[in-house]
């Protein structure tokens, strides 16, 4: 009897792993396909699914693989420029939006003043508004400010993160004891110094997480730059890649190489900063 039980348990475990491996394979296969496709010449798309077959090591025609897609991406198309644009926009925005959000969260959590209650409600209220509603009026505003087709026009609205203020407010309520701030004040420490040298270090995990979600948000943002920025040389990767679909729709190798170049930095960042990533991506949406 115990033998039979052991066998059923063993079977159950094996089935579990088989299922998990199957689903993991299904999830990962598009990525593998993307990587192999990026190195394939156009004619090999019709003869092989992943790598072209041949007589090389593991039955793969390694000599048929090419860097041509990447070469065209960087020499013929403005991919290098787009990559730099994305890096610039994402890092500038994550830095300043985090500063703005942390300062705002500090202002709303550690001081008592009359307007605090309704300000907090206002910030929270707008954080749940659907963004598409603001697309048209904001575009009109940026047009009237003469900021269309400039980075300022794209970046300035991103630097007021209502959601970020909310997150930092929560973090500071939980991790910054009022006594520390008060005793520093008694010691004659300046308000700005208190914020930078005392308060910010106490919410360091939130700073990391928020920098990452902002960076990711800007890197992956499509609709913002698509509407505001027009000059080809100023476009970030997301818009460049989408317009490549329009112009080079059947050039699979080129598109896959472009996608690979666009997601590789994010994947590298992720592998370096896994913990901050997961807590950043799931923060705020689930409470507690």
């Amino acid at each position: 009897m115990p033998d039979r039980r052991r066998i059923t348990r063993w079977l159950g475990r094996t089935l579990l792993y088989v299922l998990l491996l199957f689903f993991a394979g299904l999830t990962a296969v598009p990525f593998i396909w993307m990587v192999t496709s990026a190195f394939k010449a156009k004619e090999d798309f019709f003869s092989s699914l992943f790598l072209p077959g041949g007589h090389g090591f593991l039955g793969v025609a390694w000599d048929r693989l090419t860097l041509g897609n990447f070469r065209r991406l960087f020499h013929v198309l403005p991919m290098a420029r787009s990559l730099l644009n994305s890096i610039f926009l994402a890092s500038t925005c994550s830095l300043f939006a985090t500063l703005c959000g942390a300062m705002g969260g500090y202002g709303l959590s550690k001081f008592h003043f009359r307007a605090r209650g309704w300000l907090t409600t206002l910030v929270l209220g707008t954080a749940v508004l659907p963004m598409p509603l603001l697309l048209a009026p904001r575009f009109e505003l940026i047009y009237h400010l003469h900021l269309l087709d400039t980075y300022a026009g794209y970046l300035l609205p991103q630097l007021a993160p209502a959601f970020g203020v909310f997150l930092f407010r929560q973090a500071m309520l939980n991790h910054v004891p009022a006594e520390i701030v008060e005793s520093a004040r008694l010691d004659g420490c300046g308000e700005i110094r208190i914020f930078f040298t005392l308060v910010l270090p106490l919410v360091r995990p939130m700073i990391g997480a928020f920098i990452i979600i902002t960076f990711l948000g800007v890197w992956n943002d499509f609709i913002g730059p698509q509407i505001i920025i027009q000059t080809t040389e100023r476009l970030p990767l997301a818009v460049t890649l989408a317009s490549m679909q329009n112009n080079y729709g059947t050039d699979y190798g080129l598109l896959m190489a472009g996608t690979l170049v666009s997601v590789a930095p994010i994947i590298c960042l992720f592998l370096l900063l896994q913990k901050e990533f997961i807590s950043g991506l799931t923060s705020g949406t689930v409470k507690g």
């Binding site: 705002g104 202002g107 575009f139 630097l159 008694l186 308000e191 994947i267």
Partner: protein, 296 residues
């Protein structure tokens, strides 16, 4: 002792200043403007004409808007029906501390949510391509009767869209469900087990009631997100005229984008934006009604 030296009155305003200024200019003002704009018609951002309620009356009889609305509802419902069981199923499979490689499985399932929607959508478009696309190529090599010209992105575009969204977000929702499963009391599972309940009964009578509140929240987030879907169909159907053949892939936000930024009528786009907002508020209220009294 307490507040022996209070902060000067300007201090909170100093810290809130940069945020409040940008917030007033780029959120509060556009929000107020959106209300007025929906009573106007524009030709590009420069020329504005007041037309009163005509946007609203036109919208109610606009066949394209209703197409977009119908498509969005189909996507939302279809997506929910495949996404939630998939995400919960994965979470249940992974919810064993003794599982080897648990961390790696979670990473793999989560990975599509990590790359941006534009990039994922580009990849998905090529995956659904005829002849050389991953799915048609693989299915044709496995089953020779499979048509390598299967029109994923034409006749079956909604199926493709739902499958692409499943690939993108199942792992993301799985993370939430995994967190929810931490709240299932282990003693209750054990007790049910001792009482002779089988795995299905334990799931149905113990696990499911325990994760119901968080589950409801995940459903709400997913529905609200699906209603605003734009980039995924926009990129996937770029080559079939933006909305797919006969606009069968046109969604509400896609229609908003086309009206405002391709046709140049920011007024009508704002009116669509308000309808979207009202729909979302309705969904939230309905959710509250259905989950009344449940706390998590």
């Amino acid at each position: 002792m307490k507040s022996a030296r209070p902060h000067p009155a300007w201090v909170p305003w100093f810290f809130l200043g940069p945020f409040l200024l940008l917030f007033a200019v780029f959120f509060a003002w556009p929000l107020a403007r959106a209300a007025v704009l929906s009573f106007e018609q524009t030709y590009g951002p420069g020329v504005v004409v007041f037309i009163g309620l005509r946007n609203a009356t036109f919208l109610l009889r606009d066949p394209l808007f209703w197409t977009a609305f119908k498509n969005t509802v189909i996507f939302t419902v279809g997506s929910l029906l495949v996404q939630m069981p998939a995400a919960l199923g994965l979470a249940l499979l992974l919810n064993r501390p003794s599982l080897k490689g648990r961390h790696w499985f979670r990473l793999v399932f989560f990975s599509p949510a990590l790359i941006g929607i534009v990039f994922a959508a580009t990849l998905a478009t090529l995956v659904f391509e005829k002849q050389t696309g991953l799915i048609n190529y693989a299915l044709h090599s496995l089953f020779h009767r499979w048509d390598p010209d299967f029109p994923w992105l034409d006749d079956y575009l909604m199926t493709s869209l739902i499958l692409a969204a499943l690939w993108l977000y199942a792992g993301f929702n799985m993370v939430y469900f995994l967190a929810a499963l931490q709240n299932v009391p282990a003693e209750q599972i054990e007790a049910a087990s001792i009482d002779g309940a089988n795995a299905w009964q334990r799931f149905w009578h113990v696990t499911l009631p325990a994760i119901r509140p968080v589950g409801g929240f995940i459903v709400l987030l997913s529905v609200a997100g699906s209603f605003q879907i734009f980039v995924l169909p926009y990129v996937m159907f770029l080559r079939t005229g933006g909305g797919g053949p006969h606009d069968r892939g046109l969604t509400i936000v896609m229609y908003l984008y086309k009206t405002g930024f391709l046709a140049g009528d920011l007024g009508y786009a704002s009116a669509i934006g308000w309808v979207l907002t009202i729909l979302l508020v309705g969904i939230v209220l309905l959710h509250r009604r259905l989950t009344r009294g449940e706390e998590f």
